[in-house]
Symmetry: C2
Subunit: 226 residues, 2 copies
């Protein structure tokens, strides 16, 4: 059931054609940055990276430009690209914005979502719970992200969903750190219980509130470790 994790833009194009090299490269580089394989502040050597990934410099450079527009990479004229380094303030700023967007999404989703869509989120939630009980941190983490992504998509607001996805992706590297202690993890799970309850009750106010609170607590968890 790993297709649940696929956080592709989904691009709702009926066409089946699989992702071109460009998309693959962008995804691969994004992962390398998020996982820390490409360290913040490090230069991205084109020929070396290209050889490592088995592509020439041309498509690689195009992918890098794409990521630069996403904000994961910084372009330095005549000196190529470096992985963007985020300060604690940067992270806080992003969380503030993400909080605002997710609160909006929570409010809208309770109005616009179909029953089937809500049921789908419930299924992801239940699976996440299983991973929590199994102490499977990585799967838990991915399903957690998927739920936030899903809720944004329930709004059927493409602009909102894509901005949420953008910020969430920038923060992935950070969120990875969270959930140190079991008690904090339990608290986060409890908040997710609140979310799904509010969503199923179509209580936008409650959903919005818990989403915002969830993010602020996430910030509390990571703010000292940056």
């Amino acid at each position: 059931m790993s297709d649940v994790l696929s956080d592709l833009p989904a691009s709702h194009s009926g066409r089946i054609q699989r992702t071109a090299l460009h998309d693959t490269l962008v995804g691969r580089l994004r992962d390398m940055i998020i996982e820390g394989e490409l360290a913040p502040g490090s230069r991205m050597h084109e020929s070396q990276l290209g050889e490592q990934l088995g592509v020439s410099r041309t498509p690689l450079r195009e992918a890098i430009k794409y990521l630069a527009s996403e904000g994961l990479v910084e372009l330095v004229p005549s000196r190529g690209a470096v992985v963007k380094r985020f300060t604690g303030k940067d992270v806080h700023d992003m969380i503030i914005v993400l909080k605002s967007l997710e609160e909006l999404a929570g409010n809208l989703a309770c109005v616009t979502a179909t029953d089937e869509e809500i049921a789908r989120v419930r299924r992801i939630h239940d699976e996440m719970l299983r991973c929590y009980k199994a102490k499977d941190r990585l799967s838990y983490y991915k399903l957690n992200q998927a739920i936030h992504t899903e809720i944004s998509q329930l709004t059927h607001n493409e602009a909102l969903a894509s901005m949420q996805a953008l910020l969430q992706s920038r923060l992935k590297r950070i969120r990875f750190i969270g959930h140190e202690g079991p008690e904090k993890w339990a608290a986060a799970v409890a908040e997710h219980e609140e979310m799904i309850t509010a969503l199923e009750a179509r209580d936008g106010r409650a959903l919005s509130e818990v989403l915002g609170r969830h993010l602020l607590k996430a910030w509390e968890r990571v703010k000292d470790s940056i």
Copy 2:
């Protein structure tokens, strides 16, 4: 005093080095899309566009990828890039998100802005008023945009400012249409008076409210002409 209009990301890099070709190309293409020189839905022929702009396909393709990440251009596998076409719902969705962001910005700006920064917005506002009285629509329009950009930047929240700028830039093409009648124009100016008053009083609640209202009315003006 046209440097007031410069809505560059400003990138606060101390370095003086002027924009490389990449940045120039991105800006030029963005303008061509916003001004309508490149019509929505039209294919962007690489060789033709490259010849027109005096560059080869390679840097042009890199610029197109950048714009694709910004959402102005859509990449179709094996068929190149097309200028993204926005439906009325798309525009409405973007305005909903922009409203949320500007409301947040209004609240934050009243806390974070320095007196000098507020004075600067006042100067832009006054100049905009002059353009209004002179019926100079284009200058008015640009200063109007500049004010919204400035307010977002007063938050000193890079993520917020860049997202606001991104959405505003996508909506530029649309906003151009607005302000048909003199009475509606007058109403918009009145709202801007409210804004600057609220900002100088550091009344975040009021600023936030008028920013949101301003955007909703903008939607009312354009919604039937899309």
